[in-house]
């Protein structure tokens, strides 16, 4: 076991980790954060996406020990006080049903909107191509994002 310290959701935290533990396991099992989900556990589905130093990463493919001194943001940190506009739009457009993919999608889109506040539909599709959703057919997800960016939803 080794103690590492990182900034988790704007708060300095320390935790004991084994070198073989993934960031996803540590976040869920040791830090009590349940928004990152374990789907495929091999980087294909996007359910475990968190922001690491501002960039979306698959936390199932990151060793926790690598993240010493880094900034990690999960959905819990993004909506610490209130739901943000993107989350409100997801509710308004019924953009999730079972909800398993929603945290990963919202984190991925959060990064996109930081880089480009006015993405077009093609860019949104490209960015979300690595986030699998098996409930919605994606249309309500794209609609919610377009609505948040001020684009007309057709």
């Amino acid at each position: 076991m080794k103690e590492i310290t990182f900034i988790l959701n704007n708060e300095k935290r320390s935790v004991q980790v084994e070198p073989s533990e993934t960031l996803l396991e540590v976040l869920r099992d040791k830090m009590g954060l349940k928004s990152p989900k374990c789907g495929c556990d091999r980087g294909d589905c996007g359910a475990c996406v968190v922001l690491l130093n501002g960039k979306s990463v698959r936390s199932c493919l990151v060793l926790a020990i690598e993240t010493a001194g880094m900034e990690i943001m999960t959905l819990e940190g993004i909506s610490a006080k209130n739901l943000n506009a993107l989350q409100e739009a997801f509710i308004a457009f019924n953009s999730f049903q079972c909800g398993y993919c929603a945290p990963g999608i919202i984190i991925t889109v959060t990064e996109l909107l930081t880089k480009n506040p006015k993405p077009d539909l093609e860019e949104i599709k490209e960015v979300l191509s690595g986030n699998l959703c098996r409930c919605t057919g994606y249309k309500p997800i794209f609609d919610a994002i377009l609505d948040v960016t001020g684009k007309e939803v057709k």
């Binding site: 070198p19 980087g43 960039k55 698959r58 960015v127 690595g130 986030n131």
Partner: protein, 297 residues
């Protein structure tokens, strides 16, 4: 699935320290950059290292370095770094398009190009571009430095010219000396994580030199030398194109696997080759062509 293999984690801060660790640990050590291949391999028991050496904090290892006649892609350079570079998009379009074909944004934010060529899985996206640009791989070890032409780099599936005690510090990509255009075409079943069923990079120069490289259709990515020799110095007409397409099956050696059959791969490589050449010619004439939709996906 938790990782069941126990390993020591090392996080050296200097090149010297890293080279020493590699010398001591040799084949028991796995190098970790983005980890998008390594962690999956450890989970799948394809690799069981007793030591993992994280190279992300090695101060001498660089990211991208752009010079006027060449590009240095350091071991820390992620595919996102490549995509974010307008110089690469403007001058090395084939490389830029290959980076865009890699998985999805959450992978590209971590995965490095050097890691991609060290993993050397046969369906890798970055190889055709490096082969077409005649890239050089730079390694360092206790016994010294080596510069290895990319053509000699890939040996077999998941096997490269890298020795166990060597660290790849980066790849140099020379800027073609002539006006040129290029494209990368990947056939997958869907966007996002899908691996290539077939991949093709083409670079054509104003002096009618053609460079063509295939990936995912053989044990290692390869340059199509017979086709390149046939086309060299010639403008392409229907007759020449037909002859070149007949050579495609001789250049590649695809297998039937979970993603596709051998016969389909041979067929689609001919289709991709023809469409890729057209795209390159159109781009040479200044047209903007989006290759993502070139196969109708």
């Amino acid at each position: 699935m938790s990782i069941t293999n126990d390993f020591e984690y090392y996080c050296p801060s200097s090149l010297d320290e890293t080279v020493k660790l590699l010398e001591q640990l040799g084949e028991q050590a796995a190098l970790l950059a983005g980890g998008t291949d390594l962690i999956v391999n450890i989970k799948d028991d394809l690799e069981s290292p007793s030591a993992v050496i994280d190279i992300k904090r090695v101060s001498e290892l660089r990211g991208l370095d752009i010079d006027k006649d060449k590009l240095f892609i350091g071991a820390k350079t992620t595919f996102t770094d490549i995509l974010d570079s307008s110089v690469i998009k403007d001058n090395y379009l084939l490389l830029w398009e290959s980076a865009r074909a890699v998985a999805s944004v959450g992978i590209r934010n971590r995965a490095t190009l050097v890691g991609n060529i060290c993993s050397a899985v046969p369906c890798m996206d970055s190889a055709p571009a490096l082969l077409c640009y005649d890239a050089i791989v730079h390694t360092v070890s206790k016994t010294g430095k080596r510069d290895i032409p990319i053509n000699d780099w890939f040996i077999a599936p998941r096997k490269t010219a890298r020795k166990a005690d060597e660290l790849v510090v980066g790849v140099t990509v020379p800027l073609p000396s002539q006006k040129n255009s290029g494209c990368y075409i990947k056939l997958g079943r869907y966007g996002g994580e899908d691996l290539a069923q077939a991949g093709l990079g083409i670079l054509i120069r104003a002096d009618l030199e053609y460079r063509i490289a295939f990936t995912a259709v053989g044990p290692i990515p390869i340059r199509a030398q017979k086709i390149e020799e046939l086309l060299k110095g010639k403008e392409i007409d229907q007759d020449l194109l037909k002859q070149a397409k007949e050579l495609v099956a001789e250049e590649i050696s695809p297998i039937t696997d979970i993603r596709s059959t051998r016969e389909y791969r041979e067929h689609i490589c001919r289709v991709m080759f023809e469409r890729g050449l057209i795209v390159c010619q159109q781009r040479m004439n200044g047209e903007i062509i989006n290759t993502v939709r070139i196969l109708g996906g």
